[in-house]
Point group: C2
Chain length 353, copies 2
């Protein structure tokens, strides 16, 4: 039996929407056929690229040749478009953050179940190599038992000058980038969350957060610092992970980094004091050269299906989704918890999350 | 009139005690004449170096030729030795942390006042060049208004294998290194503290903290992360400071670092998206080369009296102390607040500190 090729229409043809064209390209059984956007020049751009330019959402949804709707609009209209599309019998791929509240996602999922359609959120950063490397380091216990991790993205450009600066559209950095870092975090441990505190940054004077820092403690003792900044002219490392036997660092998207671990073949000796500033310190002296090993961060085997191949497999009932809706829902609940902790300025404890 | 040279005896001749010998060397009007320690080999060492080896604290205190007692013992006996020395008419220099509780310090200060003797705490890291550079950057607004700073010292050696691992002796990293970083922090702003949260690290299983992280918010909005770690095989930067116009970093004791600021001569343009992992990002793209300036961290003029020159000046009524006892007292109160916040796992708010 020949496998079907599914026809996909992109709704919202801004930066991410048009980026999807190249992401879908390698997927044999999925084909971008049309585009719908409110902005004229984007429609002209789509037509110039050979896509069918729909003149309304209704036109997309009533086109029976369309199998999949991909939603890459501002965040506030994801829900309404998703529900309409599902009710029209379309499968749906939705950009992140899927919705502004976790309750909104449940509404979508209820319709998807009713209509027996697939709904999947494009959490593309689960495929980021830096994340996969850290996941591999933790799972293979390359630095012993991991007890602390710090995950940061930092820039100096402020919030992009569009709807991302506006609350009504679901703007702000916690929803925009936080959703990625928190989604990744929850995949790094099987443990439930015990406590959350957070601070939103509002240095730029926008009505939404221009960044945030959240301290998250899991029930198994793992602690995490998750941070997004848009007022950082110098970046701190993308990943900083501490284990009982060593530390791992990935500095940037270029995957520069290393692992430093105890050398199991050397009996640890008390270090010699070093001059540091106006004092001596033995505590903060580097470990002697022999007592540690400096290792590359490694590169896990890439056996993971692409997002789109997986999506087609899921439609055909051949695979479990690699991005599960209950995982996405948990991330939204965590985001809500972070907003609450920041607003109340308390450590929210005894969570069941 | 010829200036007097003061005779100083070191009580506690371990690592720091013996380090003081070389610190005092350049001070014209202060001379190390004797040593007292409980450990035999240290007394032999002191005698071999030509110092008078006292066989008891009483012998030191009843020696009328001794003007100054320097206390470099474990922390738990600072108070008792200081009070005895002051009551014997000696001026006193005390290692940090001066006492284990802020109340203990007040007891010492009451005696110093009664006896009209000088009592000064050796907060030597106020003279560290990295700190002086950061202070200069903040004061001169080289990165605009500073709104956030992170100050860290990290090592991989654990706690030194001595009394610093024991609670009864005032061990633990918050008292040992925290006292330096917090003392420096309070000199970087004139603002009172509004809230404190903290987490102690007990990864190594000692009865005291092997490190800590504290988030401190000042009433003027400045936020700070203060962190000490002894389980870090890779170090995060010593200083990371954010201002409205730029960011400053000092990576290590070697003073490597830089300042990156907005270029005032260039109108900021929206950056171009970059590929980062599996996505595009405009937000986290680097600022374009033209839009920022990369500057050296600079080196403030060093006009500060040395600790010991200042001490002599204070004895003679010629200078104000560079380390004021009410500043030291405030740091101890902050340490107590950090212990409390960590134990209760809450954000302590509405502080008057």
């Amino acid at each position: 039996m020949e496998q079907k090729t599914y026809s996909l229409v992109i709704v919202g043809f801004g930066g991410m929407g048009s980026y999807h064209v190249q992401l879908i390209e390698p997927c044999e059984h999925l084909s971008v056929t049309g585009v719908y956007d409110l902005v004229d020049y984007r429609m002209e751009l789509a037509a110039a690229k050979g896509f069918k330019a729909y003149d309304s959402l209704e036109a997309v949804l009533s086109d029976e040749t369309v199998n999949v709707v991909l939603i890459a609009t501002p965040n506030d209209v994801h829900k309404s478009i998703a529900i309409q599309a599902l009710k029209s019998g379309k499968h749906v791929i939705c950009e992140k953050p899927v919705t502004i509240t976790s309750a909104d996602l449940l509404d979508i999922l209820a319709v998807a179940e009713e209509e027996n359609r697939i709904f999947m959120v494009h959490q593309n950063r689960r495929w980021d190599e830096d994340f996969l490397i850290i996941q591999d380091i933790i799972q293979k216990k390359k630095i012993g038992e991991t007890f602390h991790l710090e995950s940061r993205v930092q820039g100096a450009n402020g919030i992009p000058g569009d709807w991302r600066q506006l609350q009504a559209y679901g703007g702000g950095m916690l929803l925009d980038w936080g959703v990625h870092l928190l989604d990744q975090l929850l995949l790094l441990t099987g443990s439930k969350i015990d406590s959350v505190s957070a601070e939103l940054s509002t240095i730029l004077g926008t009505e939404v957060d221009d960044g945030f820092t959240s301290n998250i403690r899991f029930k198994d003792g793992l602690t995490a610092v998750i941070e997004v900044g848009t007022t950082n002219f110098i970046k701190l490392p993308r990943w900083y992970v501490k284990g009982t036997e060593g530390t791992a660092i990935i500095r940037d998207w270029d995957l520069s980094g290393e692992i430093v671990v105890n050398n199991p073949d050397v009996v640890k000796v008390e270090p010699k004091p070093i001059q540091a500033g106006q004092g001596l310190t033995k505590t903060m002296a580097p470990p002697s050269e022999e007592s540690t090993l400096r290792l590359p961060i490694g590169k896990p085997e890439s056996t993971k299906q692409s997002f789109y191949d997986n999506f087609v497999s899921v439609i055909e009932g051949k695979s479990e989704p690699l991005v599960k809706n209950d995982e996405v829902h948990r991330v939204l609940r965590l985001i809500e918890t972070i907003f609450e902790a920041a607003e109340k300025q308390v450590i929210l404890k005894g969570l069941e999350l």
